[in-house]
């Protein structure tokens, strides 16, 4: 499903964020990406949906060679992935409902199906009652859940989530994690960067630890690690 071969990423300012990453993630897997702040987790994730271009190396995702793809095909890659961004990236002038619906409009979904589906997903993240509000009228955790709803709405084959529980209380976090588990059980590949030791250690999955731009550890049913 997702494969990286010797992927390097140097940002224009000279920061070496990734240094030769090799990984293979199978269809239907559930992968935690862990590591200290600034290790390169978000960069690793951004390369998958082509927010960033690798400086060197090859990345394959679905049928696409993401590192060599034509400009015109980038939207196709992104539509096959649902992304929860670390900084949410909600459209500030659209309501919660419109933000989630936008992802469906982009794939030119049948307008009749948009409304029920969006309300469904907002129900899953418990935000149906905030559907008509703007992102600026939401709490941090609520915004994060809208971002999650938008990632889920199209039932993508891959879900990539960058700290989707960073702004959530443990209870809500667990509900969200159960949602991820459920989706994963239905065959969706899930890649999730997280700092939540409790979750990683309880809900055992594959753990990829990134440290200073390289994969330091890659274990099936792994632990968060980094005890203090």
């Amino acid at each position: 499903m997702i494969e990286m071969f010797d992927v390097w990423k140097t940002y224009p300012n000279g920061t070496n964020a990734l240094k030769g990453v090799n990984i293979k993630i199978e269809k239907g897997e559930f992968v935690y990406v862990v590591g200290p702040s600034g290790a390169g987790k978000s960069t690793f994730i951004k390369l998958m949906y082509r927010e960033e271009k690798p400086t060197k190396g090859q990345i394959f995702l679905g049928g696409f060679n993401v590192s060599r793809i034509k400009e015109r095909q980038i939207p196709l890659v992104r539509r096959s992935i649902g992304v929860v961004f670390q900084d949410f990236k909600l459209l500030p002038t659209l309501t919660v409902f419109e933000n989630v619906a936008f992802a469906m409009e982009v794939i030119e979904a049948n307008p009749k199906q948009i409304k029920p589906r969006v309300l469904d997903v907002l129900g899953l993240v418990k935000l149906k009652h905030k559907a008509k509000m703007l992102p600026s009228e939401l709490s941090g955790g609520e915004q994060q859940r809208v971002a999650l709803a938008r990632a889920l709405v199209n039932n993508p084959g891959i879900i990539i989530a960058d700290e989707p529980t960073g702004n959530l209380d443990p209870e809500t976090s667990w509900e969200i994690m159960k949602l991820f588990e459920e989706i994963n059980q239905r065959g969706t590949t899930v890649v999730m960067a997280t700092h939540n030791r409790e979750i990683v250690n309880t809900m055992r999955k594959r753990v990829v630890a990134i440290e200073a731009g390289t994969i330091a550890r890659d274990e099936q049913r792994g632990e968060y690690g980094y005890e203090d």
Binding site: Y49, E51, R72, I74, P75, L76, R78, R79, V83, F85, K89, L90, L91, P92, T93, L94, F102, A103, E105, V106, I107, E108, P111, R150
Partner: protein, 298 residues
């Protein structure tokens, strides 16, 4: 793209005008003000041209005939003149009429020549007008060669100067309108760009969520078009109403209506409306699309 998506884009474009209310307002008013200036100068230039034309139209050739010419000779000369290409009209002025006109042209000084009627020194004459005032000297040269034409007068020297002036005025006017047109375009596009730069983050987010470039462009296209049209309608209406009242004011004062001969309301207003709407719509669309493009590379 599916047809229903087009509908979505149009709706979205309209909604965006409201969502970015303040920005839309700033953009539309900048477009309106810019086009107002352009429109005012367009109307001014058209009227200056009209005035220049009416001055040019007063140019005529006065052909003085030989005192010895018989009636038949005179008729012959008239036909010969009429045969010259580019001659529009030929009017016969008998010598008595000629003296009257001459004295009128002297105004107050006329009394100095009181006794002249008894022994009219003026010959019979023709007044010749050409189809294009600028052809005057060429036609005059041909008439001069005719038999029984003793002399002619069309303000040689002065007329050439007049045409130089009206020509220069016209060229300067055209240069101004073109220059203003381009600066108006620049200003409008610039304003639209600024409103879109403020939304660059939004464009980036849309792309990251999987929107194609055209999916993003369409609503901006509609928005730009609407801003351009709205920004053009306001000055068009202002100019139409303003010009109507200007004409009214001038016609209501006899003095002013003698001094300022302005173009009638129609078709001038139609021309202005067409020009402003075309520019507004075109730059509205162009400005948005160009500015959006800068942020699509995500």
């Amino acid at each position: 793209m599916k047809i229903r998506t087009l509908g979505r884009h149009v709706r979205e474009g309209v909604k965006n005008l409201g969502r970015n209310g303040w920005m839309s307002f700033a953009s539309i008013s900048a477009v309106a003000i810019t086009l107002l200036i352009l429109g005012v100068f367009f109307i001014l230039a058209m009227n200056v041209n009209y005035f220049a034309q009416s001055v040019e139209k007063q140019v005529e050739i006065r052909v003085f005939l030989d005192v010895l010419a018989t009636k038949e000779n005179v008729q012959q000369v008239e036909e010969n003149i009429k045969a010259i290409p580019k001659v529009a009209s030929v009017t016969f002025i008998p010598k008595d009429e000629g003296l009257k006109q001459f004295k009128e042209s002297l105004g107050e000084k006329a009394y100095l020549f009181e006794g002249l009627e008894k022994d009219n020194p003026l010959p019979d004459a023709f007044v010749v007008k050409t189809t294009q005032p600028q052809d005057t000297s060429a036609v005059a040269a041909q008439i001069k060669k005719l038999e029984f034409v003793n002399n002619l007068n069309y303000g040689e020297g002065t007329v050439e100067k007049l045409f130089a002036v009206t020509g220069a005025v016209r060229n300067v006017g055209i240069a101004f309108i073109i220059g203003l047109g381009f600066t108006a375009m620049f200003l409008i596009a610039n304003t639209i760009k600024l409103t879109i730069v403020a939304r660059r983050r939004e464009i980036e987010i849309m792309k990251l969520v999987g929107a194609t470039n055209w999916f993003i462009r369409w609503p901006f296209f509609v928005e730009g078009l609407l801003m351009g049209i709205a920004g053009a309608l306001i000055p068009t209406i202002m100019l139409a109403v303003g010009y109507y009242y200007l004409l009214d004011a001038i016609h209501s004062s006899f003095e002013a209506s003698q001094l300022f001969k302005l173009l009638p309301l129609f078709p001038l207003v139609n021309q202005v409306a067409l020009a402003l709407l075309a520019i507004g719509a075109f730059i509205g669309i162009w400005g948005s699309l160009v500015s959006v493009r800068r942020f699509l590379r995500v």
